[in-house]
């Protein structure tokens, strides 16, 4: 792994997540540009069956230990830091997630390496890797080099298609022993708390009407519900809406919520910040209504109108209803 590009695979409950494939696609691009190999690093317990899907990498390195069966921040950090310490990669890629970011920064700190977060895409220029990150709610792109001898980066969705990282080919698997010290840790996984049994599984819906801060208050939710009903779809929301308690967490779309790929996603009063975009940018058609013409959502929506949500939605609902009656 030394001097290579290494993707620390993201897993959840024994499954490799979609983001890992995006990371592999990014890693492949970097590895090609740097003329080096791409390794996938897999941590967990009884991981053999997960290795099969990581074919985009040149090889898969595993550390398998019962103490690693569920994500434990200190344990995972310790393993990665130890392994990277002995076999330092040129670029270490982590997922920009609750699990990836917990350990990426610690690993970078321990290696004395710089770290770039929220990376979308990478390039190589003159044999040096470069990052491009989306920050400030998606309003600013920051770019720069990833200096050697080692640099860490966390990867967000959107820069590469997950398909690019899914290769049907078995990569050779190597096992490394778990480092010492996994029994003397100060964090311990206790239990999962399952999400509440939801009314609706929004990931299975073809039509989603989603509301953001732009609806201003709970009372205006009704107009979104009406539009959803007229279209035969359901209502979802971005983080601020769920945090306020206007919709249950089962309706949250975004990084911390559900990832949805409906036929139509109507984003009402949603700015399109990366955390939300992660949950819906793969929708077939995104219609964005946001008063602010500069809202980041217009950067990846298909259709948009810079009008006031509260004024427009009733007009649209009316139109839909008339079409259905006609």
């Amino acid at each position: 792994m030394t001097g290579e590009v290494c993707v620390v695979a993201e897993t959840l409950r024994g499954e490799v997540t979609e983001l890992t494939y995006t990371m592999l696609a990014a890693g492949r691009q970097l590895a090609n540009g740097l003329k080096t190999r791409l390794s996938a690093f897999l941590i967990g317990h009884q991981v053999e069956r997960m290795t099969a899907s990581l074919g985009a990498a040149d090889r898969v390195v595993c550390v398998d230990d019962p103490a690693l069966v569920e994500f434990n921040p200190q344990a995972y950090l310790h393993v990665v830091a130890e392994i990277f310490g002995r076999h330092t990669p040129r670029v270490g890629l982590f997922g920009h997630t609750a699990t990836g970011t917990d350990i990426a920064c610690g690993v970078a700190q321990r290696l004395g390496a710089p770290i770039a977060v929220s990376c979308r895409t990478f390039t190589t220029e003159g044999g040096e890797p470069h990052y491009s990150s989306l920050i400030c709610g998606g309003k600013i792109i920051a770019e720069g080099p990833l200096p050697g001898p080692c640099c860490i980066a966390t990867v967000m969705t959107g820069g590469y298609k997950a398909e690019q990282g899914k290769v049907v080919k078995a990569a050779p698997v190597e096992s490394l022993p778990a480092p010492e010290g996994l029994d003397a840790l100060r964090t311990r996984f206790k239990r999962y708390i399952e999400p509440p049994a939801g009314d609706v599984d929004i990931t299975k819906q073809a039509i989603i009407v989603s509301v953001g801060r732009g609806i201003q208050n709970k009372d205006n939710l009704a107009m979104a519900e009406e539009l959803a009903k007229a279209l035969g779809g359901v209502v979802s929301g971005s983080r601020p809406v769920i945090d306020q308690g206007w919709l249950p967490t089962t309706r949250l779309v975004g990084k911390s919520g559900k990832q949805v790929k409906p036929k139509v996603y109507l984003a009402l009063g949603i700015s399109g910040a990366p955390e939300h975009a992660e949950g819906m940018r793969d929708a077939e058609m995104i219609v964005a209504i946001n008063r602010d013409e500069k809202a980041p959502i217009y950067g990846f929506a298909h259709v948009g109108a810079a009008v006031d949500v509260l004024e427009f939605v009733p007009v649209l609902t009316d139109k839909i209803k008339h079409i259905h009656c006609a």
Binding site: N217, K218, D219, Q244, R291, V307, D308, L310, E311, P314
Partner: protein, 684 residues
């Protein structure tokens, strides 16, 4: 010459009861009243309300004697006034009689006759009033009245007191009629100076009772009357009749030191606000005892009408009910919580501060001040809903409730084809203080721009504060955030003090109210105008050319902060007439207008449980008027609230909501000018 005979027909010695009973019972009355009043001072904060005695006495004459507010409702008003004035006259009559008996004789001849007819007519009126009141209480049974036994007893007691007085006099007249020597100078022709008494006397005269029997009956009736009067005295301070004493007191002590548009200052205790009764002033506590439970405040309250947990009447009575328990527990340290205990949090938050309650209240209770004190407490305790605190956070950080940058405040001006002056750089006669809603709400931009065009057409020399303008603070104060209000006042004042202007105009009545009544101008002569006043002036002075008469039939909704708070009712109506609109009044007009429900920070709060929105009730009221096509408003919040209400009430196509400025804009537009693009919501 006829003259009054003191204690006619009462044996000497027995007549002393006529002094002993009323005086001793009056002592009990005063003692009981004092015991109650002592609680106000024991529990309540101090407050100075003994100044301007002359003005206060004049107010007592107007509200407690002439009872002008009671008469706002004709039928019950008449009944009450008949009873009350009856008793004023009885009291006066007794005083005159006592002077005549014990000091100087003057009740003789025409003076005596005048005295008699006055007493007699008012006796009859009082009885009529009582019967009408009984009809109202026992047959009509309106919801707003408290129909308990205590009230029925009081009415009954008052009835028998007056009746016994009438009967006593009628018996005397019957006796004198049979033997005129019993009152020298009396002739049957004088009988009609006591018409009610004389008519009643016919009963006795026709009954065939002997003179001796009539004498005895008279004595018995007199004793009965005296006893009943004594009973009345001792009962007044402990029942519904307490208002007879406390209402005039409440009127006397009612606040006169500030315009009604200026909220009472916060108490200095712990960020202000009332958690227990101890934080109210003694005068506020007295209100609980002055309340007559008439319920007019409740009937007028938009929150109550919407099914929300606020009844102004119940709130005031809660003070009355909690006073004694609070006083009792003051020795220990466990005073009962008022708000959060007897009164629940949502009650305090449901109020729109529209003042319909205080405007109706016959005894001048200030309900809104109570609500404000409670809100100040609740907010300091962090017991407010997140939407409100979110809006307040935005106001604190950005100076507007929308959470938008203060630099965007004048973005609406980009739609105009002319540039408005910046008052920070150039002087102007008129500063236009635009306000949050008119500036930031996208649905209102059209109306704001219309105002700009109209001002220009009227040749007004006007300018804006642009980014330096902040929310004026009216509703921030009424939400209970006194500190933030002061901060906003300071920021706006600092900005305005650097600028040169003579008057301020605003399209927002809330802004108007606080600038006019609460901002410290420190002697600077600044006139504050609502735009309807400015237009009214311009039309009168001929500086605003009206190019066409609109010829439509409209109804006009009086905004709470323009009408009830600041008495501006006619200027907008004159403007409407000047532009050729025929104004048809809604049943609830002028100071009876029904609040749209947005005031007092309500527009920033969670709507809560609603049975029927006041705004929907209002547009239905307007739609019920024959031929009225347009519902005219003069406040940006009214504009958004009523446009929404027309939609949710399903009245689109029946009635359309327009701001006065939009109509004036139409009426003053140049010939052949292109109409500005109308938002889809203003479909005519």
């Amino acid at each position: 010459m006829i003259e009054r005979i003191n204690f006619w027909g009462i044996p000497h010695g027995v007549h002393l009861l006529g002094y002993v009973v009323p005086i001793s019972c009056a002592v009990v009355l005063i003692w009981r009243l004092g015991a109650r009043a002592r609680l106000w001072w024991k529990v309540g904060r101090p407050e100075r309300r003994w100044d301007h005695i002359g003005l206060r006495l004049r107010r007592v004459a107007k509200y407690a004697i002439a009872q002008v507010k009671v008469l706002r409702q004709r039928f019950p008003g008449f009944a009450h006034v008949a009873i009350a004035w009856g008793f004023f006259v009885f009291f006066l009559g007794t005083a005159l009689a006592t002077i005549d008996a014990d000091l100087v004789r003057f009740l003789r001849g025409p003076v005596y006759l005048g005295f008699k007819v006055l007493l007699d007519v008012f006796t009859a009126l009082a009885l009529v009033g009582i019967l009408l009141a009984a009809y109202r209480r026992f047959l009509q049974r309106p919801e707003r009245l408290t129909l308990t036994r205590a009230f029925s007893f009081s009415l009954g007691l008052v009835f028998v007191v007056v009746l016994s007085g009438l009967l006593t006099e009628s018996l005397r007249l019957a006796a004198v009629a049979k033997d005129p020597m019993l009152q020298p100078g009396w002739t049957p022709s004088l009988a009609w100076w006591t018409p009610a008494g004389w008519v009643t006397a016919q009963i006795w005269l026709a009954s065939g009772l002997s003179s001796a029997a009539i004498d005895q009956l008279h004595l018995a009736m007199w004793l009965g009357h005296v006893a009943l009067v004594g009973l009345l005295f001792v009962v007044i301070p402990i029942g519904p009749l307490l208002h007879v004493l406390t209402a005039p007191l409440n009127v006397f002590f009612s606040p006169i030191d500030r315009p009604i548009g200026r909220a009472a200052p916060a108490a200095a205790t712990d960020g202000g606000g009332a958690g227990t009764l101890r934080a109210f002033t003694w005068a506020q506590l007295m209100q609980g005892d002055a309340c007559t439970e008439c319920g007019r405040c409740q009937d007028a309250c938009p929150a109550y009408g919407a099914g929300q947990p606020l009844s102004p009447k119940k709130l005031v009575l809660a003070i009355k009910d909690s006073l004694a328990p609070t006083a009792k527990s003051m020795a220990g340290n466990g005073m009962p919580a008022f708000v959060g205990g007897v009164v629940e949090d949502p009650t305090a938050w449901a109020c729109t501060t529209c003042r319909a309650c205080a405007t109706e209240c016959p005894v001048l209770i200030e309900h809104v001040d109570l609500i404000l004190d409670m809100r100040r407490f609740l907010l300091a305790q962090q017991r407010a809903d997140n939407q409100l605190t979110g809006a307040l956070s935005n106001l604190r950080r950005y100076g507007n409730s929308f959470g938008k940058s203060d630099k965007q405040r004048a973005k609406w001006t980009t739609g105009l084809d002319f540039k408005i002056k910046d008052i920070r750089k150039q002087p102007a006669r008129t500063l236009w203080f635009v306000g949050d809603y008119a500036s930031y709400n996208p649905a209102l931009t059209e109306a704001t721009m219309a105002a700009a065009r109209v001002f220009q057409r009227a040749g007004v020399d006007f300018a804006l504060l642009y980014d330096a303008e902040r929310n004026a603070g009216n509703d921030v104060r009424r939400s209970g955030e006194e500190g933030l209000f002061e901060l906003l006042v300071q920021k706006n004042s600092v900005a305005m003090n650097k600028c040169e202007f003579q008057e301020i105009v605003t399209t927002d009545p809330h802004t108007y109210n606080t600038l006019k009544n609460e901002y410290p101008w420190n002697g600077r002569a600044v006139q504050i105008l609502h735009y309807s006043e400015l237009l009214d002036r311009a039309i009168r002075e001929g500086t605003l050319p009206i190019r066409r008469k609109l010829g439509c039939t409209v109804t006009y909704h009086d905004p709470c902060y323009l009408g009830r708070y600041n008495n501006v009712y006619d200027a907008p109506r004159r403007v409407l007439e000047a532009i050729g609109c025929r104004v048809v009044e809604m049943p609830r007009n002028r100071d009876r207008a029904l609040c749209c429900g947005a005031g007092g920070g309500r527009i920033w709060m969670d709507e809560g449980q609603i049975k029927e929105r006041p705004s929907e009730s209002r547009v239905r009221e307007a739609a019920g008027l024959d031929g009225v096509q347009i519902f005219v408003v003069a406040c940006p919040k009214d504009l958004t609230m009523y446009r929404d209400a027309v939609k949710t009430a399903g009245l689109e196509g029946t009635i359309v909501v327009k701001d006065l400025i939009e109509l004036v804009e139409e009426a003053t537009r140049e010939e052949n000018a292109v109409a500005p693009i109308e938002a889809a919501t203003t479909s005519a």
